[in-house]
């Protein structure tokens, strides 16, 4: 019967098949193919979707999400989560704008958010790592504090007297918007660093099994603290890219921003249980999410579908991941 066929499979063809499967089932490849598929299908229905102008505005408006998702991916890989990220971006953007409006040098308004982002995440990291509070609780608390604080201090007023030269995101060296440079360069550098540095490796180790990592001589508490500080750095950059997009800053927290960022990480293949995933995946997923959201306008779907589409995407990814792991384990 065909049982003997299964067993006596020639090893060489099996290897080729295996390599082929690894490439195809690789999360990054799936995302890339999905993006291309979307561009082709929607572009066919409405060619304006794939026009230069739309593609550039698509990246311009969403690159900061990919940058924030880099930090988020690190946090999730280390076995934690941060749901205050959206509120922090809102706060840091407002701080940046306020500093610029007050007449300080522009480079200060670009760098202070990084420092404050790192400091706030340092505090969260201390609470998570050394006081052993669950990160979901800590970041839930910070989400409320930051959101409430923002409304209290600004009263919801917009910042519009921004000085010339502040709009970093509107620069276009070689005709390509600045945020795209940030997204591509930061993703590449971080992906390399996560793979090749002992600290990056220890993020995976701590997220995979904190106790075993500790016995191997890694200090899990310090590692988690470093993860949060680095995350704060990326959130800082994301907030500046966000605040310099338009000529006004709304002083509010963009709705559902933290969910979009977490979705990018999870859909990008970062296991919500920690220990696996890459930032290339999360950046590709952020691009895919942006492409989906933009496509809705071009095929005349209500943007309210976007939330449902995102939700379905998360469930599909997690299910696919689960299925894959199950199959590996049953072998």
């Amino acid at each position: 019967m065909n049982n003997s066929l299964i067993i006596k499979k020639d090893t060489k063809s099996e290897n080729t098949l295996q390599i082929f499967k690894t490439i195809i089932f690789n999360q990054e490849m799936v995302l890339l193919l999905s993006i291309l598929f979307l561009l082709i299908v929607v572009g066919f229905i409405n060619p304006r979707y794939v026009s230069n102008r739309n593609l550039i505005s698509l990246f311009l408006g969403n690159a900061y999400i990919a940058v924030a998702a880099i930090g988020m991916s690190m946090v999730i890989i280390s076995g934690n989560i941060d749901i205050s990220v959206g509120s922090l971006i809102g706060v840091l953007a407002t701080i940046s704008g306020t500093i610029a409006e007050a007449g300080f040098p522009i480079w200060i308004s670009w760098t202070i958010p990084l420092a404050i982002g790192m400091f706030i995440n340092f505090v969260m990291g201390i609470l998570v790592a050394y006081f052993r509070l669950p990160s979901i609780v800590v970041s839930l608390g910070f989400m409320s504090i930051l959101k409430g604080g923002l409304i209290m201090f600004t009263g919801g007023a917009w910042i519009s007297n921004l000085p010339d030269g502040y709009a970093l995101s509107q620069l276009r060296p070689l005709g390509i918007p600045m945020p795209i440079y940030f997204m591509v360069i930061l993703t590449t550098l971080t992906a390399y660093w996560m793979k090749m540095s002992p600290l990056g490796r220890s993020f995976y180790a701590v997220g995979g099994n904190s106790e075993a990592a500790r016995l191997a001589g890694i200090q899990p508490k310090l590692t988690v603290l470093k993860v949060f500080i680095l995350h704060g750095f990326f959130v800082g950059i994301a907030s500046v890219l966000f605040s310099t997009q338009l000529s006004v800053i709304q002083s509010t927290v963009p709705p559902y921003l933290e969910l979009t960022i977490i979705t990018a990480s999870v859909v990008g293949g970062v296991s919500i249980l920690g220990g696996t995933g890459t930032v290339i995946g999360s950046t590709l997923a952020a691009v895919l999410l942006a492409a989906i959201s933009s496509s809705m306008i071009f095929v005349n779907l209500s943007p309210f579908w976007l939330r449902s589409a995102q939700g379905l995407l998360i469930l599909a990814t997690v299910l696919a991941d689960l299925y894959r792991r199950q199959r590996q384990l049953n072998k």
Partner: protein, 503 residues
């Protein structure tokens, strides 16, 4: 009526089961009759778990049939197996710690009142009846399961199986995590069940238990059926050679070695309240066994030496120098390695590759200028995989997918890559098959010959006696005896462990 012989309760006939690329079971037959204990033996990966899963409805066989009381039967789901009277007690007990004993026993089929709510008084009295039928009246049915010892929980599992009218009880390595006393009590319970006509399928890696308990024993190897023997008509040597397909003439390799200089010396070393005033010396090239019941402080002593729970008093000298070890990181720098008791919780990063697990303690060493040297990492892993004979698809395999024995070898490889002076092994061969066990024993012997000082903790007395040059026995946090290899016997060590003094 005729003199017809009663058919076996369960009869598996020519069962085959394949997974993609793997022949898990091939033409395996197996039966168990009323009131019999039938042991199932085989190395890890021999197909025991698959066979159990077929019998308990988790997997479906591709060929062959299952007869229950002589009638062909299809078991598509665990629920159907349960209804057919087959209950399985897995290694990891599936009890809910936050519920009471009685609730656990009747989980899913608690007696109801006519209002369809749980009839609590009935629930407690029925649970009590079942426990007393197991001679386990000492367990209070109103206690939370979370407060019970592992041994008691196991008896609750058995009660749970009986509450479902189980006639066939499958026990997967029930003694793996039990103390000596609990094992004895479990055996009494099993004998009682046997007398009441329950058929028991018993899986264990400990041959002594098989001979003590089983009437018959069946052996599987590489998914195939090797044979069935009456325990009264066979011996350990024969069973081992049937399991591994070769004869292991010396169970424990033993080279005569000369002990070198003192590597570790503890003086009044303690971690109150877990361990008190420990004084021991371990020499280079020596294997020192540390024996004691679970909870005697043996693991705690090891963890204190390795800096997991730093000492509260006394001193530790390493190669003649007094050192203070506050963290595993420090211990690693001082060339101490610790192979933990629980390999999946403490030993390995499961989602990582073999290569990444092996290089973990040496990350900084293989990363000149802060960047991991991939070549050095690969060579290190390759060397260790060869040296330890780790069976895998290569460096890149995720350790989660390896068998228990090979996972343990990865943990050992990881620590030996750090070239330690002192190697602490906590239950180095728990839950791994005979073949891998022998390999690990051989490795230990070789490492000691190379001059590493080894401190080995084990619950298995034959292992302690077979491998150690000297043996320390711990009880209630204190070293109560030091025995030389030549004077030590199982009885002596066991007596010291349990505090029974000879008259």
């Amino acid at each position: 009526m005729s003199q017809q012989i009663k058919p076996p309760v369960v009869h598996l006939k020519n069962i085959s089961k394949n997974f993609p690329g793997v022949r898990a079971l091939h033409n395996v037959s197996f039966d168990v009759i009323e009131g019999e204990v039938h042991a199932l033996l085989g190395e890890n990966g021999a197909g025991k778990s698959t066979l159990i899963k077929v019998l308990s409805g988790v997997y479906q066989q591709e060929h062959g049939e299952i007869l229950i009381d002589g009638n062909p039967c299809l078991l598509h789901t665990p629920h159907e197996a349960q209804r057919a009277g087959i209950a399985t007690i897995y290694q990891e007990l599936l009890l809910l710690p936050e519920l009471t004993v009685a609730e656990n026993v009747y989980l899913g089929h608690a007696p109801k009142t006519r209002w369809n709510t749980i009839n609590w008084s009935e629930l407690y009295s029925r649970a009590e009846d079942i426990l007393s039928s197991l001679d386990a009246e000492d367990i209070n049915v109103r206690n939370l399961v979370g407060t019970l010892s592992v041994g008691d929980r196991q008896r609750v599992e058995i009660a749970k199986a009986l509450s479902q009218q189980a006639r066939v009880l499958i026990m997967d390595e029930p003694t793996a995590s039990l103390t000596e006393t609990d094992v004895n009590r479990l055996f009494e319970t099993i004998r009682l069940l046997k007398k009441n006509g329950v058929a028991i399928i018993f899986i264990s890696h400990r041959l002594g238990e098989v001979f003590e308990l089983a009437d018959r024993v069946s052996i599987l190897r590489d998914g195939g059926y090797v044979g069935t023997k009456k325990t009264s008509e066979t011996n350990q040597g024969e069973l081992i050679s049937m399991m591994v397909g070769r004869t292991i003439d010396t169970l424990f390799p033993k080279t005569v070695r000369k002990a070198g200089k003192v590597v570790l010396e503890l003086k009044n070393y303690e971690r109150i309240p877990l361990t008190k005033k420990t004084n021991i010396k371990i020499h280079a090239g020596e294997i020192v066994g540390l024996s004691g019941l679970v909870g005697s402080g043996r693991t705690e002593l090891a963890q204190t030496i390795f800096g997991i729970t730093p000492a509260t008093g006394g001193s530790l000298e390493l190669n003649g120098e007094s050192v203070n070890i506050q963290s595993p990181e420090k211990a690693k720098k001082l060339k101490i390695a610790y192979l933990p008791e629980d390999r999946s919780q403490q030993g390995l990063i499961q989602p990582m590759k073999i290569l990444e697990n092996i290089s973990l303690p040496l990350l900084n060493e293989i990363s000149p200028r802060g960047i991991i040297n991939n070549k050095a990492e690969e060579q290190l892993a390759k060397k260790m995989i060869n040296q330890f004979n780790i069976r895998s698809t290569g460096n890149e395999q995720i350790v989660e997918l390896l068998s228990g024995g090979n996972q343990q070898k990865v943990v050992l490889a990881k620590w030996l890559a750090t070239k330690p002076d002192l190697l602490i092994l906590d239950e180095p061969t728990r839950g791994i098959d005979v073949g891998a066990k022998a390999e690990i024993h051989k490795l230990m012997d070789k490492l000691a010959s190379e001059g590493i000082a080894i401190l080995m903790i084990s619950s298995e007395l034959p292992e302690i006696l077979g491998m150690s040059d000297r043996i320390f026995v711990m009880r209630e946090g204190v070293i109560v005896a030091e025995l030389n290899r030549n004077d030590a016997t199982q009885e002596k060590v066991a007596e010291k462990m349990m505090g029974v003094e000879q008259q």
